[in-house]
Symmetry: C2
Subunit: 339 residues, 2 copies
Amino acid sequence: MEKDDLKTAQLKKEIIQIFKKFGLSYNHALISTNALINAELVGAYGHGLSRFKMYCDRISKKVINPRPKIKIKRLSQSISHIDADDSIGFVAADIAIKQAIKNAKKTGIGLVAVKNSGHYGLSGYYAEQAVKKNLVTMIYTNAPPAVAPHGSLKSLFGTNPICFGTPTGSKIPFILDTSISMINRGKIRVAAKNNQKIPEGVALDKFGKMTTDAKKALDGVQLPIAGFRGSGLAWMVDILSGVLTGGNHAGRVKDPFDDFSGPQNIGHLFITFKTNLFVKNYNNRIKENIEIVKKLPKTKGLKEIVFPGQNKYKRLKMNLKKNIKISKLIQKDLEILKK
Amino acid sequence: MEKDDLKTAQLKKEIIQIFKKFGLSYNHALISTNALINAELVGAYGHGLSRFKMYCDRISKKVINPRPKIKIKRLSQSISHIDADDSIGFVAADIAIKQAIKNAKKTGIGLVAVKNSGHYGLSGYYAEQAVKKNLVTMIYTNAPPAVAPHGSLKSLFGTNPICFGTPTGSKIPFILDTSISMINRGKIRVAAKNNQKIPEGVALDKFGKMTTDAKKALDGVQLPIAGFRGSGLAWMVDILSGVLTGGNHAGRVKDPFDDFSGPQNIGHLFITFKTNLFVKNYNNRIKENIEIVKKLPKTKGLKEIVFPGQNKYKRLKMNLKKNIKISKLIQKDLEILKK
């Protein structure tokens, strides 16, 4: 896969310009661009610029609302409900996590539900915001059908990530952001775009046969982790983010790449709470916890036991020093969108 | 495995009597007995009477406090902190879920942390209480070391269950109660007691080799589901239930069967919220969600796609009509304890 060097600042300006051309306000364009660039910098390419053209297409086809009237309904000092008015997901999620942070700072706990939103990229990106404010956070979102419920032959659940973040007493946040599928759909999509194979055991083709062909996997079914356990976790996420919030659920979230027949109406749920509710020395406790795990005997050849989010943080720090590289395919997307 | 018939009511009386003989109040004996019998009735034998003698032994050796002074500290109308004073886990969890229900009924959301508790049996048993009150609930608890963190050769995390419950618009609650290990430690313990084998791929012996010998697995390491994903989820549960609550964490929860050097100080976290915070017709929405999943094309030979908790509920209803059967081993335990 060939990649072009591009200065990050310059690339950011270009993306913002394009989002603005498609009708987003400067502020919304900035929020969305920052999320996309962050995904590139942490190496989560499936949530990065490979999706940029899709977002612009959805705005063009009027299934993302570039000028949403986002309503925040305050149910209590802890609980808020956001109707995102079909905004681009990044903006809805950014407003929601900020509201959840505010609520938790005020009352100890925040619960914020979002409906009429869209794909917002990485849950971990929003979790980081809460962790930086010294909060613990749990984030749930649903997604288009990709994973078959246990016992079924058809996709219905999304890859429905479970996300958990906590301060660690160090600069590096603990961010678990794990889809309940064996592999992220974004990764399959990138593999398909670049004609790469996917690992064995993560997906079936549309006839129910195991496949390593990324394109066939996109037409088929992704497998959940651990059979009925992963299927149950995916179902839980669909309920928390869809049934509870007023968002779409039970397989009704549209695929953003293929289905322009209407908005996605994805739902999200953000839970935040203070770290010092029950103990005075949380940061010391978590620091000690991580230190103890890191000192365990390691498997052969392993240098360090890492906590979730640690590698991503390292990649971000490294990549921030370098010029960003984007593939020819994305370069082409940018040229088309600029016109 | 030979089993004896015993009328459930009679058995209950016997267990309560024994707990009382060991110093529990009638009320605490009743709560604990109900939890143990429920585990038998739903077929979760690893959390049932196979543990009864262990609880009594821990009371005798003064590492469970039979007459605890349990303190409930109210941090706000939503948030409570419980110091269980080394009570038997069932009692701490029963008080905690009832407090979490009360808080959610009052403010929409409840968050209750427990420290200085012990093993409380099935998380799902407490989730059911919240669901019966028409609440959604999430429950976390840690447990003695059983699962090796990803990249490590030594157990540190417990089988740390993730539990989620919701009303379904029908009589049967949706209760996901899944450990993050490939198999429950309780099941391995029962297999070891009955000289049965465990499945391939769920545990390593103490030398790091795959084993199907239940006794060797107890001395070795259980494998987490889905590698680093399951390991991350186990870590999350240890943080939520241990680091946050003031309970033991990072592998310090003692094995209740083997280690009588002190109380377990297990931590639990209970989150509850109202179903109708963000939508008016939650019960219809979840009912529809489940119906859609159930109508999907099924794998060969499967009669019905079931939701988490459905089979357990069925077993309970069936077993309630029959006399309870207990193994010779447990019968022997009872005879010893009665003396």
